[in-house]
Amino acid sequence: MVAKVTKKNNKTSYTNENEGEEGYVKVSLVNQSVFIRKKKSCPLRDISIAEINYKNLRLLNKFLSERGKIIPSRITNVAVKKQKALANAIKRARHLALISPINKEVISN
């Protein structure tokens, strides 16, 4: 959980305040302040599973690597159920030649 720990002396923390730093929470201990990385939430939290289908090519394209591979949820932080739906949708779109299996470019007429 603790990804980045910055020890700070009391003196320096006054002059060097990084509280606004994105993705980190400042936790004050007795003699030092520690920055703990927040848990990232799913980028698809506002999109329902029904909307993740093989027709939505722009959505699928976002989760492909340059070589057309599915980016693992370890990197994208997509929730497990949605990652499964995403993977199925990408495989259907590949079968129907809507997206290429070897590169990222989306074909549109």
Binding site: P43, L44, D46, I47, A50, E51, N53, K55, N56, L57, R58, L59, K62, S65, I71, I75, T76, N77, R92, R94, H95, L96, A97, L98, I99, S100, P101, I107, N109
Partner: protein, 136 residues
């Protein structure tokens, strides 16, 4: 009765009339088996992402079906025999989705090449996608 979705890709050298005739023929198989075609979509003559049976382009047709499995199985069997169809996909769905962004017209006849589809307001999905960023 269960809900199914069928998409098939017809050969590139078929004319719009041929595609409509083919789609009507397949739709009749479902209706003869006491099924119902809820809606039909034609996605136009699209470029394929890779060549399929030496075709670089193909006519995409989608059926939303409400029917027993037997009619859908018969439809699949006929699609397998038909040489005008280069690729197909059938699967069960919980609910039929609305018109997708790929939708062009209901029938191939109404489709006009080069017709510019009206760009709608950015959808909810687009707004979410703009914010999605991750290190890869």
């Amino acid at each position: 009765m269960a809900l199914y979705e069928t998409v098939f890709i017809a050969r590139q050298d078929l004319t719009a009339e041929d595609v409509d005739a083919l789609a009507n023929k397949l739709a009749k198989i479902v209706t003869d088996g006491n099924g119902k075609i809820v809606s039909r979509e034609y996605w136009g003559l699209r470029n394929l992402a890779y060549k399929v049976k030496k075709n670089a382009r193909g006519h995409y047709v989608l059926f939303n079906i409400d029917s027993e499995y037997s009619a859908v199985a018969e439809l699949n069997r006929v699609i397998g025999f038909n040489e005008d169809i280069i690729r197909s996909l059938t699967f069960a769905v919980e609910s039929h989705s609305e018109e997708s962004e790929l939708f062009v017209s209901a029938n191939a006849k109404e489709f006009k090449a080069g017709k510019v589809t009206v760009k709608k307001e950015p959808s909810k999905i687009d707004l979410v996608l703009d914010q999605v960023q991750f290190e890869s």
